[in-house]
């Protein structure tokens, strides 16, 4: 008997594995993020000055950008996976793919820009 | 354009499915009508023993020879749903030992390969067998999955464009003049709608219900539903089929199936096979007798208890000693009624040859010259009963 020669594979191992790996990195990075923002700093939330100072620690801007990328990777592959659960048509999925990639791209560019701005403001 | 003879088969049990397969191969256009799902009656509820003929080689050698031939054939064509377990006949007392001589010579006559095993050999093969065993024979029994055997035949028929209409209950026949059946009236049980299927010939393959169906055409077929109780246990206590080396009796066989063991069976008669209540006394009795073969069964929880109504042929005279070979009635000959054939009786193991013989008769009536091909071809994957697109 022939195995179904239906539609092309739309979610393969590497995509799934990327989601899992990104998820694991997030657990570490978000741990740091949460602890810094809510446990270490008295008052729980950073003031403007504190944020600017925080971003002067050398690896923090880089870490935040990296964090931004993997968070979007994880969450948008996850969203795509939920949409795949709904068995979308080929057309719908390709629209979803374009939408997800462009939204993620815009957010990552915007977030990176924000990090750079905050970093430069802090140097003043 | 379409000159294929059109045949309707009523009943999608082993017989109906095998017959549909045989007839489609011979070039008939086949429609199968079934009031429930595939194998929902007697066929589904067999104990799943692929007979080697050992149980009949003393009392009914014709049936025994047929069994061993079909056993070997089914292993080839329907490997997909048969456990090649083998079986043992074990002797436990004096009378069994006396029976063993008849058994050995009967088996030889019927061409059933047997091998004598000592007590130690048997215990080594099957550690759970009673220590009271004296000696025994190994025999090529097997077990099969009832539904999947029927579906294998049905799938092969579907592959060759037979049409199965399940949940279509036959409610009457259209009779041309006084003595020619020309169409079958059914109720689609899903929608409740009435439909009429025209045909050149209609085959009543409803087993224990053959009498009820033929009644609708005003014909009497002497079929007696003879139910037996079967009990399945939630553990596979032996790897092989275990038979008592004696005249076939209630609760003297243990058939391993998947993770279970099935024991069978009793025998009594009923009028209507639609619903047969389960008698607890019979279950108890069977349990005790089977525990004699494998004492472990006393401690194993039962999993399912069920009744199955075999179709025994032969009017009012009763019981087990009736021949279990099938009967095929051409009602043209017996009742002067054209276009209607009844097939009933038989066993799952011999369903293919039953179909072959019936198809021979049917094809002769319809003027089809094609020969039977079901011995050589391996059945289609049973999953293909639901056609792949």
């Amino acid at each position: 008997m022939l195995i179904r020669t239906g539609p092309k594979n739309r979610e393969n191992f590497w995509l799934w594995f990327t989601k899992i790996a990104a998820g694991f990195l997030i657990i570490f990075l978000l741990g740091i993020h949460l602890i810094v923002n809510h446990l270490i700093v008295p008052g729980g939330l950073l003031s403007y000055r504190q944020v600017l100072a925080y971003y002067q620690i050398p690896f923090i801007p880089i870490m935040e950008v990296f964090f931004l990328i993997i968070v979007f990777t994880h969450s948008f592959i996850g969203v795509r996976s939920i949409i795949l659960d709904l068995n979308p048509s080929k057309r719908v999925l390709s629209i979803v793919d374009v939408a997800l990639v462009s939204v993620a791209f815009i957010f990552i560019v915007y977030g990176t820009w924000l990090v750079i701005v905050v970093y430069q403001l802090g140097r003043l | 354009m379409n000159t294929k003879p059109k045949v309707i088969i009523i009943g999608a049990g082993f017989t109906g499915c095998a017959l549909a397969y045989d007839l489609t191969l011979r070039g008939c256009e086949v429609i199968v009508l079934e009031r429930g799902d595939i194998a929902n009656g007697t066929s589904g509820r067999t104990h799943g023993l692929l007979h080697s003929g050992g149980r009949y080689c003393v009392s009914d050698q014709e049936a025994a020879s047929e069994c061993i031939q079909e056993n070997i054939l089914l292993r080839k064509i329907s490997k997909q749903c048969i456990e090649f377990n083998g079986g043992l006949f074990i002797a436990m007392d004096e009378s069994d030992m006396a029976y063993s001589e008849h058994f050995a010579s009967g088996a030889e006559k019927c061409g059933i390969p047997i091998e004598r095993l000592s007590k130690e050999q048997i215990i080594k093969l099957e550690p759970n067998i009673t220590p009271e065993v004296i000696f025994g024979y190994s025999i090529p029994d097997g077990s099969f999955d009832p539904l999947r055997l029927a579906m294998g035949f049905a799938a092969s028929a579907v592959v060759h464009h037979a049409q199965f209409f399940t949940y279509h209950e036959v409610v009457g026949f259209v009779i041309n003049g006084t003595a020619k059946l020309s169409a079958v009236e059914v109720i689609n049980r899903h929608s409740g709608e009435k439909q009429v299927f025209e045909c050149d010939l209609c085959i009543n393959a409803t087993g224990a219900w053959a009498g009820k169906v033929s009644e609708m055409a005003g014909i009497t077929v002497p079929v007696l539903p003879t139910p037996g109780v079967m009990v399945s246990y939630g553990q596979r206590v032996t790897q092989r089929v275990i038979n008592r080396l004696c005249k076939p009796d209630d609760g003297d066989i243990i058939i391993p199936q998947r993770r279970m063991s099935v024991i069978g069976t009793t025998s009594f008669e009923v009028e209507n096979a639609d619903y047969i209540p389960i008698e607890k006394e019979q279950v108890e009795k069977m349990n005790q007798r089977a525990a004699k073969l494998v004492p472990l069964l006393k401690n194993v929880p039962t999993r399912g208890v069920y009744m199955s109504a075999r179709p025994l042929i032969g009017g009012s005279s009763s019981g087990r000693s009736l021949s279990r070979t099938f009967k095929c009635y051409d009602h043209k000959e017996s009742d002067g009624f054209e276009g209607f054939v009844t097939i009933t009786g038989g066993k799952a193991t011999t369903c293919r040859v039953m179909a072959e013989k019936t198809a021979d008769l049917v094809c002769k009536k319809l003027g089809v010259s094609a020969k039977c091909e079901t011995q050589e071809r391996v059945l289609a994957d049973y999953h293909e009963y639901y056609p792949f697109n």
Partner: protein, 249 residues
């Protein structure tokens, strides 16, 4: 018989094409020990001949009589009435979810059997392979074959949340079948079927399939084991020259 009978209300979800599904109530005197399927068969034989339901072997080897009993997927031929209700109680019977209902309790197994057939699932396997590896298996050394445990009843599909919205998803049983086939022989096309958007990645670890499986298949365990096999295979093939795979094509 001597033991006391129970009076139980059977609420059966009835529907025919074009109808609205509705529950019909059948009060029934039952033996608490008897199975739900026996009672349903009796309702059909004695009370309502229009009731449609699926059944065949009545001892859990065919897998046809799966239904939802009081909301939970059960193989009704081995589900004792006393295990799902009490004297004077209710037994609510519905068809399996995630299968198209043809009428009453009858569902269309076609798509499911196509998924199973696709895996070339072999229902007969050597005794050793037919059990789960973490089970004590005294029979492992016996060179016999037997029917494997999956009876293709579809209960796992009915319980699976991912199957609710996606008819193309292979489903727990077919994925478990792929795993079983891969333990016996490696096959690139089965691997492709597993590593697919309608394969192992549609599973979201609700583990409901194993909760309802009547037959010791533990589909969730098999799906997870299948993922492990896919992971191992994909990483291994990273370090292989593509030459070997080309020979196949």
């Amino acid at each position: 018989m001597s033991e006391p009978k129970w009076l139980v209300d059977f609420q059966i979800l009835r529907q025919h094409p074009g109808d609205k599904p509705h529950f019909k109530i059948y009060p029934l005197e039952v033996d608490p020990e008897e199975n739900v399927l026996d009672a349903i068969e009796r309702i059909w034989a004695k009370k309502d001949r229009t009731l449609t339901f699926r059944h065949a072997c009545h001892h859990s080897t065919c897998g046809v009589c799966g239904m939802r009993v009081n909301g939970v997927e059960k193989l009704t031929c081995i589900t004792a009435i006393k295990s799902v209700t009490k004297n004077g109680g209710i037994v609510r019977v519905e068809p399996l979810r995630n299968f198209t209902v043809l009428s009453d309790l009858v569902v269309d197994m076609g798509p499911f059997f196509r998924h199973m057939g696709e895996t070339r699932f072999n229902s007969v396997a050597p005794v050793g392979y037919a059990s789960l590896p973490f089970e004590p298996d005294p029979t492992n050394s016996i060179p016999l074959e037997r029917l494997v445990d999956c009876i293709e009843c579809g209960l796992c599909i009915s319980a699976c949340p991912a199957a609710t919205t996606n008819a193309e998803y292979s489903g727990p049983a077919a994925l478990a079948a792929i795993q079983l086939m891969l333990t016996q022989n490696f096959s690139p096309d089965l691997m492709a079927l597993a590593d697919h958007d309608n394969g192992a990645w549609r599973c979201h670890s609700a583990f409901e399939c194993s909760e309802v499986c009547p037959s010791n298949v533990d589909p969730a365990w098999r799906i997870m084991n299948l993922r492990r096999r896919v992971v191992a295979h994909r990483f291994k093939s990273l370090f292989k020259f593509p030459k070997q795979e080309k020979q196949h094509a």
